[in-house]
Symmetry: C2
Subunit: 202 residues, 2 copies
DNA sequence: ATTGACAAATGACACTGTGTCATATATAAT
DNA sequence: ATTATATATGACACAGTGTCATTTGTCAAT
């Protein structure tokens, strides 16, 4: 978490810093991002940076929570709209994120994040406990709505299914970045979803 | 690729360097690995390192090809043994790698690699064209053997299936690192494979 | 208006690590 | 013995990090 000193800054100054951070984190993966670039771009002294943030990770995570906050609402709306059907939800997430990637300015920022998620990284970038609770709760609701249409015996198995859907969606979003033909990319995604839905075995 | 200068070195010296590299790459992910540590451990001058390798990536990739070379034979044997059944092959790969992780000294090296593969990284660490050709060829043979038991219309779809199996296996191997109970971890893996095999939809 | 006390800003500094290069040393070839 | 060629070396310039003593700003109390 940033310090109070940071939060006490004028909106203008805070924005300048966040904008510079956004730019840097969009440029390269987190490990390669340089505080030097950020402070130069934001026109603050190096020392000030450390007055505001513990390190670049700290700033990065804060920036993430801001961005995720925006998406969260969309996500819960979407769950509502799809009446909880987990498969359709993920298809919607895919489409939504591809759309975001195409249109929005923070395009590159998200791309960096998606491309650089490591196999060992957790389900999601959601670490904040507040959202975590809501997720847990939502998960249970989703389970209730899906247990009759899915081949799952209990909530544990349902979680596995979600992880698989998540992994597929993530991989396919990244693949779409590299692919020129978005329609083609989407077809591959849907094909994989279908494989998971109906099984690969004859 | 390392330079000729490196290959001309005495076996002893080469081994000392590779051993030091192995140690460092087992310690931290590639980006954090330090050439300084390697040269100090291998007792060579900093300048010499750059006489042998372009950079740490170069050394890393060479080390990888050595290790993969060892596994390759095992893999092709396994394909033979399982008579090409792609699902069983992946279950075998899982078991084999878990075994390697438990037993072998290079334990940590593999763990680093598996944990730090990024979503944007390709199917495998196999970049060498030689092996690539053999893989392509093997892929076709595998397709022939599996097309009758799997729900795939063509080789493209078969490739998607392989990618999915690969992704699942990778994720589940990494999960097993974090899990104390290896049997539990294996069950989750098999469950996911079963989901893919028979579908998640009732 | 002056003082004191606290908050915030600053950049020089010590540190760690990278990649290069001129020079030194070894090996081989004639 | 001389020359050519290959190999080895560590000092150096550069880039980045995190810290800290010092400076600057703010504002309440006198």
């Amino acid at each position: 978490m940033p310090t109070n000193t940071f939060f006490n800054l004028s909106e203008e100054k805070k924005n300048k810093i966040l904008k510079a951070a956004n730019k840097e984190f969009a440029r390269v993966p987190l490990e390669q991002a340089s505080i030097k670039n950020i402070v130069e771009d934001a026109e603050i002294a190096r020392g000030s940076f450390y007055q505001y943030f513990e390190d670049k990770q700290d700033l990065f995570e804060y920036l993430m929570t801001l961005k995720i906050g925006n998406m969260q609402k969309n996500l819960f709306d979407m769950i509502e709209r799809e009446n909880g059907n987990i498969i359709n939800i993920f298809i919607n997430i895919y489409d939504h994120l591809i759309q975001v990637g195409k249109v929005r300015k923070n395009n590159k920022f998200f791309r960096q994040i998606f491309e650089n998620v490591k196999t060992s990284d957790n389900l999601m970038l959601i670490k904040k406990d507040v959202t975590k609770n809501k997720i847990e709760q939502t998960l249970y609701e989703l389970y209730s709505k899906n247990k009759d249409i899915l081949n799952v015996k209990n909530e544990e198995e349902f979680k596995l299914v979600i992880e698989m859907l998540f992994a597929i969606t993530r991989r396919r979003i990244v693949a779409s970045f590299k692919c020129n033909d978005l329609d083609e990319a989407r077809k591959d995604f849907l094909k994989e979803i279908e494989f998971l839905k109906n099984g690969i075995q004859k």
